[in-house]
Structures are given as C-alpha cells and as structure tokens.
C-alpha cells in the first residue's frame, strides 16, 4: 500500500467536499448466461459450464436471454428509471485473457434504463436521494487463478489458469450520477446506498446479491473538491469492495488519503485502486492509460432491443412491493417505533418476521424470536440471520407450541437449538429430545413433595404465608424435571400442597 499519510477525518471534512460515484455490478440469477444456453450456476468444475459462444470460439454467435432483459427492465423500473424504447448492445474492445472474445458485449451510449433515483435512509432516519444515471446489461468475464510467485497474486505469478464458467454470466451495471453534498456522511451514504440497492434487488428476486461471492460488486469512485471550488477533483476508482462495511471503509480511507496528498500540494492520480480488507486501506492497481480507447461500436451480431410500452407495463405489474413501501406498511401494521423498525431493517429481519407471521405466529412474538434468541445464535455463528438453518415456518411452529402450553419458553429454545443443529422439524425435535412439558399433575406432585421434603425450612415459610419463598421449590422441581414442567403450574401445586 501507499505510504502517504492520512489526514484526520474531521480535518478532511473542514477542508474538502467529497464527491462519490458508485458503480454496482449485479450478477443476475437467471438459469442461463446472457448470450448462450450454458448454466448460470455458481461454481462447478472448471470449464464445464461453457459452449462455443461463451468460450468465444470462431464462428459462434450470441443470442440474448429474454429473462435477463426482463430483469434489466424490472430493475430499471424499480429504480424509477426511464426505459429506453430502443437500445442496442455495443462491443467494448480491449484485450484481457479472462475475456474470451477480447471484447465485452455491453451497452454503451444506449442503456436500457436511465435517469432514475433511489431513496436511501441513513441510520438516523435521514433520507438521501441518490440519482441513478443508468442501468445497463453486459456480460461477466471468466476467472483467472494466478500460480506461483510469493503472494499468489497476479504480480510475481509464473503463469495463470483460466476458467470460463463465469464468462458470459448476465450482469447489470447500475451507475449513479455524482453524489455531492453528503459531507462527512459520504462513507455512510455509500454503504447505505449499496445496502438499499441490495435489498431492492433481493425483493425483485433477480440476483443472489451475495457480495462475498461476487454476485454483487461495488466500485467506488471518490474525489475531493476543495471547499468552495467549482470543479471536481481527480477521482480514483476503488475495486474489490466485497462487503457493505468495506464500502464505507473504502470511501473513508480514500477521503483521508486523497486529502493528505492534496494538502501537501500533491495531485491525485486517476487510477484504479484495490481495497485491502485486512488493513482497511486501498492500494494502487493499474494506472489508467491516457490512451485507453475501447473502440465501442454497435454489436453487429445482435439486433436492437425495443421494449414496447405494453411489455414494460406488464413488467411493471410484476414488481413486488419494494422494500421502502414494505417498511412503511410493516411499521404501521406491527405498530413499531422508528427505532424498532430500524433495528429490524438493520438485522435484515423484516422478511423473516413477516414470513413467520404469515405462517401463523403473532407478529410481536415472531419479531421477539428473530430479534433476540435467533439474532444471538446468528451472531455466535457469525452468519446473517437469514443464513441460519431454520425457516420462518419452523419458528412459527415453535411459537404455536408455546402458545398451546406444549412447550415452555425454555423448552422452546431447546427445540430451536435442535432445529439449528439439523435434528429436523420442531415436532420431531420435541419427540426425540423428549421435551414435552410435564403436564401430568401426579408426576409433578411427586416432584413437589420430594422438593418440599428436601427443604423443610422453605416449606415451613410457605406454610406461614411467605409465598415468595415458593420460588426456591419451583427451581428445585424444574431442575428435577429437567425444565420440562410448566413453572406456573408447579408454583400452583406447591401452594396447594402447603395449603397456602
């Protein structure tokens, strides 16, 4: 990484205005690739999801995936964009070994969607409207593995190995207009934008939006303007930003780095930089050649796309309730405070709670389970809530068992543990772990009598009317029944036995 000093963030803000531009690439979760019928499944043995077209073999031709176009239009509509009545693909010509044709089939000056916006809510509830310049279709590259060399990186590698399974996977690139005036909140705005966009794409069900697997990738363009300056500064483009947190850190780091250079009279190089997750810094990548010339021209192997107004209208009809609307509705229906709503959103729990409620659980119970016990479990495992191996239906079943009195809260947590451990459905876990509430009074009386006999002093106190002392006996009975008794019932039986 660079050894340039960093400027204190507070000072950066007093002296400079940050200007952001965010480019997000989303891999669509279509069944097949953008231009051929190869499977668009993540992974697989190398070079097994390939055909003449995505390998760029001589004579092969592309044919556009209809669902990819529909997804692009739906994304455009969800981002409040205009949909082009006529647009084309172009070829972006440059040589790179992971790109089989040595041109990328992409959209250039005729994107399918343009001029939109996305409202982004920050942590404190402030809403920032991010203007969207365009959303266009293109294809992904293959993957290269660099072999040899000390770091295993491209630099110092002895040779490279290419796998084209990902080549030709449909991508939508979503580009913001420049985002200005966010001041010290620029890093937060960047994160919130990507996060909001991710939720939106998830709601549209067009992508896996897994930043860790690269199905959602963000490039952050950052520049600084001296306060009061009229022109934008030179920007850098930071790639390899693989998580929401990294988006925020990368922008913040670039601001402090650039500010230090500018303050010492240096100038910013227009370049691509790479975010280093471990150190939270960015490092210079390839310098952009001044002569970079992609020689775009309309792709002659494809014909124009001209979505009719009817088609666009039909696709508009397929848009699900989008996250922002949904949040408003959920807040009203579940009577949530702004803070409760924000917690729910930040935990990524709205869909889970809603699905649990849909499966029959009272929303408050559902929210409580997901936000407390299940959130703890997710934290402990270091995974997102949604990645826990339990379904909303299973959570709803557990809640129902508690409501029926078949489980105590304690037992319910054991059942959830069992489900999380892969032991099967809640009812099956109840059975195999033997977690039924002991509701047979005679069995409970035996345990109560035993506990009273073992604690004669306490028994006396209860008989004397000190009902609070019953707690100790309840504890002993619960211990004896391994938690399978309903504590309330046990208490009643103790008081009955003591004639209190």
């Amino acid at each position: 990484m660079t050894t340039a000093e960093l400027m204190d963030y507070a000072e950066v803000i007093t002296r400079f205005d940050p200007v952001l531009g965010l480019e997000v690439h989303v891999e669509l979760s279509t069944a097949t690739k953008m231009f051929c019928g190869c499977s668009n499944r993540f992974g697989g043995e190398p070079n097994t999801h390939v055909c003449p077209t995505c390998l760029g073999l001589p004579g092969s031709l592309p044919v556009v995936n209809a669902v990819a176009v529909e997804s692009a239009i739906r994304i455009g509509l969800a981002l409040n964009c205009e949909i082009a009545p006529w647009c084309r693909f172009a070829r972006k010509n440059y040589f790179y070994p992971d790109m089989p044709k040595n041109f990328q089939t992409s959209q250039y000056d005729e994107p399918i969607a343009f001029n939109g916006y996305l409202d982004v809510t920050l942590d404190d509830g402030e809403v920032v409207r991010v203007q969207i310049e365009r959303a266009h279709m293109e294809e992904d590259t293959g993957k290269s593995l660099h072999v040899g060399g000390a770091t295993g990186r491209i630099h110092g590698a002895e040779h490279s190995l290419l796998d084209y399974n990902r080549a030709g996977v449909p991508l939508i690139e979503i580009v913001t207009k420049t985002i200005e005036g966010t001041g010290e909140r620029a890093p937060e705005v960047a994160r919130a934008y990507v996060s909001t966009l991710r939720d939106l794409l998830q709601a549209l069900d067009v992508s896996d939006v897994r930043m860790d697997q690269g199905s959602l990738r963000c490039d952050a363009n950052v520049s600084l303007m001296e306060r009061g300056a009229a022109e934008f500064g030179t920007r850098t483009e930071t790639k390899n930003v693989n998580s929401l947190r990294s988006v925020e850190r990368a922008v913040r780091f670039e601001m402090t780095r650039q500010a230090a250079i500018l303050a010492s009279g240096g100038s910013i190089l227009q370049e691509t930089r790479h975010f280093e997750e471990a150190s939270g810094t960015t490092r210079a990548g390839r310098r952009k050649e001044t002569s970079e010339d992609y020689r775009y021209f309309p792709e002659p192997d494809l014909v124009p796309i001209a979505p009719s107004a009817e088609w666009v209208q039909e696709l508009r009809g397929t848009l699900p309730e989008l996250p922002a609307e949904r949040r408003k509705r959920v807040q009203a229906e579940w009577s949530l405070t702004d803070l409760e709503l924000r917690d729910l959103v930040n935990a990524g729990a709205i869909d889970l709670v809603a699905a649990t409620a849909d499966a029959g659980a009272p929303p408050a119970e559902a929210r409580s389970w997901w936000m407390s016990y299940l959130s703890q479990q997710a934290n402990a495992r270091g995974v997102d809530l949604g990645a826990l191996p339990i379904t909303p239906g299973q959570v709803a079943r557990v809640i129902a068992l508690v409501a029926d009195g078949a489980l105590t809260n304690k037992l319910a947590r054991d059942v959830v543990d069992g489900v999380l451990a892969g032991e099967g459905e809640p009812d099956h876990v109840v059975e195999t772990r033997g977690l039924k509430v002991v509701s047979d009074d005679s069995a409970l009386y035996a345990a109560v009598d035993e506990a009273l006999a073992a604690n004669p002093d306490v028994a006396t106190k209860i008989r004397e009317g000190k009902h609070a002392a019953a707690g100790a006996i309840v504890g002993a009975v619960m211990k004896a029944t391994q938690g399978q008794a309903d504590a309330k019932r046990v208490r009643e039986l103790i008081l009955t036995r003591c004639g209190a």
């Binding site: 003449p52 040589f95 070994p97 041109f103 010339d293 020689r295 021209f297 002659p300 192997d301």
Partner: protein
C-alpha cells in the same frame, strides 16, 4: 468415371435416385479427380476422403433400405469453404493462426448439408479470414484459376470456385462479405449466389465482418445453385440476425426461368457501373448479355444509383472495423497458434507475438485500418459516416426496386488477373469488389452468372434482387443461361481447358 465429374448436381442426384450410379461411385470419382488435378489447382486445404465415402455410403444404404432420399441433393458431393466449422476436420480460414484447429461444433450450414445427404468432400482454400479478392492471401498458398493456372480464381472463395471449374466438385459453399462468392464465380465461369443477408445462418461461419457476411451456394448451373440454396437457407434461432421467414422459392424460379420467357420483367442497368476501369471485353460481354435479356422479353431501363460510388470506401471502413474486433479473439490463450511462450514472456507479449506470426499482411493491414476507424476522435468521420453511406445505398436500392424487378451490372470490372499482379497495391485489389459491395452493405440478394468470355477468360453478369426476393434473380439468371447456352454452343464451363492430370 470422368463423365460423372462433368455432370451437374441435378443430374447426379437424378442418377443416384434412379440407382443408375451409387453415391459412393460419384464421391469416389470426385475424390479421384481431386487427386488428379488439385496439385495444380490447389482448391482444397483438406480432403475428407474417408468421411466423404462414409457419408455417400449412408446415402446408398438409405436408398437400398427403400427410404426416401433426404433431399433432392442426396449423395451429391460438395466442397465446403474452410470458414465454416465442421467437426472432425480442421477449420483454418486460410490462416496460420488456426492451422489444425479442430472445432468442437458444426456450423448450421454444415448440419443442414449433412442432414440433406450432401457429401462434403473437404474444405476449400480461401483468402485468410476471407479478406481478399484473389485467394493469394491464404497462408497455405494460392489457388489457381482452371481457365489459366497463372491467374487468380477470385477471392476470397477462390478454392470453392476453382473446385467447380476444375470439376472437382459439382457444388460448393462460399461466403460473401464484399463479393467473395460472386467475384470468384465471375472469374471462373461459375454461378455464385449471395442470398439475402439473414436468410442463411451465420452460426459456425467464422466472422470476418458480421453485418456483411453471408454464406451462399456455388455451382456450375443456376438450377444447381437454387437446389443448394434451398438446402442451406432457413431460420436459425442460434443466429440473432436470422430472418424468420419462408425460404424464397428459388428452385421454382430457376425452373420457371428455364422456359426462356422474361416478358413482363423489368431489368435496370446500373449506370454507375460502367466506363473507366471496366475492361472493354467485360463491357462487351455485359452489353451482349443485356441484349440477350431484352431478346427474352425483358424490358431494359437505365437506373442511376449515385451513392454506389461511396460503397467501396464505406465497405473498406465497415468491414475492417468489424474484423478488427472479430479477430481479437485469436490471442493464443484458448485455441490456435501460440508463439513465444518461453516461460518468461507475459500473456500480453505472447498475444502480440502470436498475432504477428499468425496473421498475414492483408489481415494485419485491415486490423490496423479497422482499429483506426473505430478510434475515439475518428469514429464519426469514418465508421459513423460509413454507416450513413449504408443508409444512402439502401435508399438507392429501394428507389431502384420501386421501378424495376432486378438490377444488373458486370460482376467485376475485369477478368481474372495474374497471380502477383496486384499484391503490392491494396487499392487496386480492393477495386475487384466495386460492383458486388453495394448488395452486401444493403443486405439484398445478388448473384453472378457467367456471360461469356473476354480474351478467353470468363465474365460474370451480376443480377441483384430486393431483400427476400432472391427468386427474381434466379428466374432471370436461368432464362439467360438457357439462351446463352443456345447462343454460345453449350455451357460456357465446357470450354475450360483440360488440366494436366497427375498419375
């Protein structure tokens, strides 16, 4: 056996169908002819002897089993231009960069031929990546014109046209980007057809200029070309530019035309394609052909297509631009030649060295020209303007076809030139395609039919039809062919000098 190789495809098919001769005998006769004369002609880059015989045997077995023939051309041998992929044989495009490349898939045209029972004898020579008008740009040596072995057989499909003129095959497939079927047809005295763009699938046709390339039939008679046309044409969902429409009724049109009556047909003579630069012998043969059409009852009018003058310059911007991009994939990474990989050089260096070693001078020239034309700052002046010229040319065709049924011109301004004569002067070479290029830019149908000799060398008559009206050209060409044979004492092709036969 030599008689078999002199037969037209239609006659061969009839004899096979009547079991007068077996497909294997026909194929063997052509393989023998190739063995005898191709040392001199060099039409073939690869002869697929065993599989050709196996395919012929399959046709015979099919007939022996009493099953209907797969098509009207079942059992007829064909020479396939080496720019179309066929599994089990190399596809080189006449380039070192693809020497020995075995494609793992078949072109749609190849599949259709095989499904029709057509016997593919092998792959024919061509200018490297179809860039050229003489077949001298093949990395594997030039093909020679059977009419005069010191002369070029046209290009880029000189291998296909020479194979027909040398009686090595009765049918061939060519591809036509700026005239690469019609111009070789003209200079070898054979029939060459560029169908309407979008009617023959380009899937598996190694692209030179995607918006112009079109595969088409080559034959010694108009009817044979029509029969082959109907085998290879038709919608293909693997080609986005493929038109989903019925194949024009070209066989019916050829048969109708053979009645020799062109009454009611209006023929436009393109006035721009005459004058300076047109060999007197070519002009004479053309004028005689037009007179012949008039005698057949056609109404002849002169038509001006002023923007055709800009066709050649527009073509030499569009085709190289698309080519510079299409040929970028030849980079030594996944297939084909790799040069200079000594474990110290980078991928980038190996790419540059491989492309330098693998491409010939004409290909390099066009890649550089295309790279230039697409460059930032030049795009509007060159590529953008060329696309506008394309619009003007389409408008000229539209206006012309509003008043005439077909347009005619000489196919080429000159007859076959000497090998080596124009290699040092690219612009002189490019002018060979002057008359053929407009139909590539506009996408309409056009064909070349032999129309006489000039100093003993064949001259071609070009007949242009509107898009998707390919049958019009066939009707006129077939009528003309009958009249020409009558007037000139039999088919022109019979006047090809005997080639020296190897023993």
């Amino acid at each position: 056996m030599t008689e078999l190789t002199r037969l037209d495809a239609a006659d061969i098919a009839a004899k096979i169908a009547a079991k007068e001769v077996s497909a294997v005998e026909v194929t063997q006769a052509h393989l023998d002819r190739i063995a005898a004369v191709d040392h001199a002609v060099h039409a073939f880059l690869h002869v697929d002897t065993e599989r050709a015989l196996a395919a012929a045997k399959a046709v015979d077995d099919n007939a022996a089993a009493g099953l209907p023939a797969a098509s009207p051309l079942a059992g007829v041998p064909l020479a396939l231009k080496d720019v179309l992929t066929m599994q089990g044989a190399p596809t080189t495009c006449g380039s070192k960069v693809l020497e020995n490349w075995q494609p793992p898939y078949d072109a749609t045209v190849t599949q259709r031929l095989q499904a029709a029972g057509v016997v593919i004898l092998g792959k024919t020579n061509m200018d490297e990546f179809a860039m050229g008008s003489s077949t001298e740009n093949s990395a594997f040596g030039p093909t020679r014109n059977p009419w005069d072995l010191d002369r070029i057989p046209g290009g880029s499909g000189g291998g296909s046209s020479a194979a027909l003129a040398a009686f090595e095959a009765p049918l061939a497939i060519g591809t036509d980007t700026g005239g690469s079927i019609r111009q070789p047809g003209a200079v070898t005295g054979t029939v060459g057809v560029k169908p309407t763009y979008g009617t023959v699938s380009r899937f598996g046709l190694v692209a030179f200029s995607s918006s112009l390339d079109q595969a088409g039939p080559c034959a010694r008679t108009v009817l044979d070309a029509a029969l082959l046309h109907e085998v290879i044409a038709g919608h293909d969902p693997l080609d986005s530019t493929s038109i989903d429409a019925p194949v024009p009724p070209v066989v019916a049109a050829a048969l109708e035309g053979a009645n020799g009556d062109l009454k009611g047909v209006k023929v436009g003579v393109v006035t721009e394609f005459a004058g300076d630069g047109y060999e007197p012998g070519v002009a004479e043969a053309f004028t005689a052909a037009v007179d012949q059409l008039r005698a057949l009852g056609a109404e002849i009018v002169e038509v001006s297509c002023p923007s055709f003058d800009l066709a050649l310059p527009a073509y030499y911007l569009i085709a190289p631009s698309e080519a510079s991009s299409n040929l970028a994939r030849f980079d030594a990474m996944r297939y084909g030649l790799r040069v200079g990989d000594d474990a110290t050089r980078s991928a980038e260096e190996v790419m540059s060295l491989t492309r330098a070693a693998g491409f010939g001078p004409e290909v390099k020239r066009r890649i550089i020209l295309g790279t230039y034309a697409l460059s930032a700052g030049y795009y509007d002046a060159y590529y953008g303007s060329a696309q506008k010229v394309r619009t003007l040319i389409m408008r000229d065709f539209d206006a012309a076809f509003a008043s005439v049924d077909v347009l005619v011109s000489p196919t080429t301004p000159t007859t076959a030139f000497k090998i080596g004569e124009r290699t040092a002067d690219p612009m002189a070479m490019y002018r060979a395609d002057l008359c053929t290029i407009p139909s590539n830019l506009a996408g309409n149908a056009a064909l070349s039919v032999p129309c006489g000799l000039s100093d003993g060398l064949p001259v071609g008559l070009q007949i242009m039809s509107p898009a998707l009206q390919d049958q019009r050209g066939y009707r006129v060409a077939a009528a003309y062919e009958v009249a020409r044979n009558a007037a000139q004492g039999g088919p022109l092709i019979n006047r090809v000098p005997e080639l020296e036969v190897a023993h």
